[in-house]
């Protein structure tokens, strides 16, 4: 019933229709898959070349699989962080730019439907992209480089990051008046998460040498992939992968709540 209700959300239907009419919608998956394919091929050929160097350079199949898995998941996380802000930060501002926000606001439609529709449209698109990458994950799985649990963790983290960044982008879109500044601000915030979290962590370690906390790294979307990899390899586990998605869910829900309040009280 919830699914049927979602599908009857006119905002979501319109966003999907709009996206499917845009040539970029088809161009982006082509680039996305091509990039993942190139990364996979590059790793396969590089490791093959290394293995051909002699008996001392013997590389097992599962190692190739693991490299492919890591490269594919990290590349995908990067692509998500590049794609989602540009789509979600324009959710409301683009309506404002086109002058279509006012006709929307004077309909008796519940504002929560606008919020949900605007949030889910980019999320569904990214889910489509993620689904196209499954053959590469399967390749890694075939090499023995990963298992189902690790696959679920990696894809779960990517979905969590997508929802989190989409909520952040939507909030930015309700705050800013125009699309271009909104997208730039959203990219700035995402960059602060990626690079800023690492810099903050380094500063904390330099300033407080005894402090062993890695709080700032938990804000980094790539962190759970690293931590989960450590767990998988049964190396020394420095941190828990699940903390990042939990933080993302809490912050994402907060961003969404504020975005919804702003949309609910939006007049013109």
């Amino acid at each position: 019933m919830i699914g049927a209700g979602l599908w009857r959300n006119p905002i979501l239907s319109r966003e999907i229709d709009h996206r499917m009419r845009d040539n970029r919608t088809y161009f982006i998956p082509v680039v996305y898959i091509s990039l993942l394919g190139l990364v996979t091929l590059g790793i396969y050929l590089t490791m093959g070349t290394l293995a051909a160097g002699g008996p001392s350079n013997f590389i097992q199949g599962w190692e190739i699989g693991q490299f492919i898995f890591k490269a594919v998941t990290f590349t995908q996380m990067g692509l998500i962080l590049m794609l989602v802000p540009s789509v979600s930060a324009g959710a409301i501002t683009s309506e404002r730019d086109k002058g279509t926000l006012v006709p929307l606001l004077v309909t008796p439609m519940k504002r929560s439907r606008i919020t949900i529709g605007k949030l889910l449209a980019p999320v569904l698109y990214v889910l489509l992209l993620l689904s196209t990458s499954l053959p590469f994950a399967a390749l890694s799985f075939g090499f023995g480089g990963t298992d189902l649990k690790m696959l679920a963790v990696a894809y779960g983290c990517m979905v969590s990051t997508t929802l989190y960044v989409a909520s952040l982008g939507l909030l930015v879109s309700t705050v800013m008046k125009r699309t271009v500044p909104a997208v730039l601000l959203a990219y700035g915030l995402v960059a602060a998460l990626d690079i800023g979290s690492v810099i903050a962590e380094v500063i904390v370690h330099v300033a407080f040498k005894d402090l062993d906390a890695i709080f700032f790294l938990y804000l980094n979307p790539f962190a759970p992939l690293v931590f989960a990899g450590e767990e998988y390899l049964a190396n020394e586990v420095s941190a828990h992968w699940w903390i990042t998605p939990v933080i993302q869910m809490i912050l994402g829900a907060f961003f969404l709540f504020i975005a919804h309040l702003r949309i609910r009280n939006m007049r013109s």
């Binding site: 606001l105 008796p108 007049r267």
Partner: protein, 313 residues
């Protein structure tokens, strides 16, 4: 949906004021509109027409005073008000990448129409605005007049009791304007209450039952309606020194205005039903030669100017 009986007020505005920072966009505006009235909002740019419409469309919160549509306060019961109104902003606001059918379907769904009702609604409104044969055309391929008709069709999605149309005639050629005026007449015959703003006063005159003049955010005294008074233009041989004094004694003379120039041309406003002959007799008795007199039809623009002048004085 709230039902309205004939004579009940669909719109009630009481001492409404809107402030943007230090700028007072509307100041103590008060009026009410019975069901089925077509009201023209007239005033110079920045007079507060769009602001007033936006308050009624639940898009602006007033600083003080109140406004209600169908008895529902536009701030406290905004959701109910939105179900009662169809609002056409002055910039259209149409998705260019949709087909006419999809555009109407989208808004019909936003107004809560069930899937079975949506098809019927689209056919009905497209026939009404004369776009049935363009149903599958993309909006970007429609002319400005057609887009406006489509936007107008969208405002009917919730079967509103009140239509708020901000400059719906702007930028249209005379044919499209004629079509739009026909649509408004049609809406009036269906009992819709309509508030319409336009700078094309001659067009407003054709469809409006009542005109509200706004200037500087305030309602200018509502001028006499066409037909309530009679205007005459009168020319005397010499400029009279005591015209006002003479005509004060004549029943039915409401105002006298001497035109610029030699001071021989005068405009008289008489109550409807009163004739010019007592005026002429009074002038002749005082030795004034009247060279010419003729009735004058006063347009909305002139009435607006006169109302402004009277308001200032």
């Amino acid at each position: 949906m709230t039902g309205f009986g004939a004579g009940e007020s669909v719109v009630t505005v009481e001492k409404l004021s809107v402030v943007f920072g230090r700028f007072r966009a509307l100041s103590d505006v008060t009026f009410s509109l019975p069901k089925g009235t077509v009201v023209g909002l007239v005033g110079p740019n920045g007079a507060g027409k769009t602001t007033l419409m936006r308050v009624l469309a639940t898009l602006l919160v007033p600083a003080s005073g109140s406004a209600a549509v169908g008895g529902c306060d536009v701030v406290k019961m905004a959701g109910q008000v939105r179900g009662e109104i169809g609002y056409l902003p002055d910039f259209g606001g149409i998705y260019q990448d949709m087909r006419a059918r999809e555009y109407l379907s989208f808004f019909a769904a936003a107004y809560g129409l069930r899937p079975v009702e949506i098809g019927e609604y689209i056919e009905r409104v497209l026939a009404l605005v004369g776009l049935t044969d363009r149903i599958d055309d993309f909006v970007e391929n429609l002319s400005l007049g057609m887009r406006l008709k489509l936007a107008f069709a969208r405002t009917l999605a919730g079967d509103p009791s009140l239509l708020i149309l901000d400059e719906p005639l702007a930028g249209l050629d005379h044919v499209a304007r004629g079509d739009m005026l026909d649509l408004l007449s049609d809406m009036r015959s269906r009992g819709k209450t309509i508030i319409i703003s336009s700078h094309l006063l001659s067009d407003l005159e054709k469809v409006c039952d009542r005109i509200l003049f706004l200037d500087g955010g305030a309602l200018v005294r509502e001028p006499v309606r066409e037909g309530e008074t009679v205007l005459y233009e009168l020319e005397t041989a010499d400029p009279p020194e005591n015209l006002l004094e003479i005509l004060e004694t004549v029943n039915g003379v409401l105002s006298v205005e001497t035109q610029a120039g030699a001071g021989r041309l005068h405009r008289l406003e008489l109550s409807s039903g009163d004739e010019i002959s007592p005026v002429l007799r009074a002038l002749l008795d005082r030795g004034l030669d009247v060279v010419m007199w003729r009735p004058v039809k006063e347009g909305l623009e002139e009435r607006f100017r006169r109302a402004l002048k009277e308001d200032e004085s």
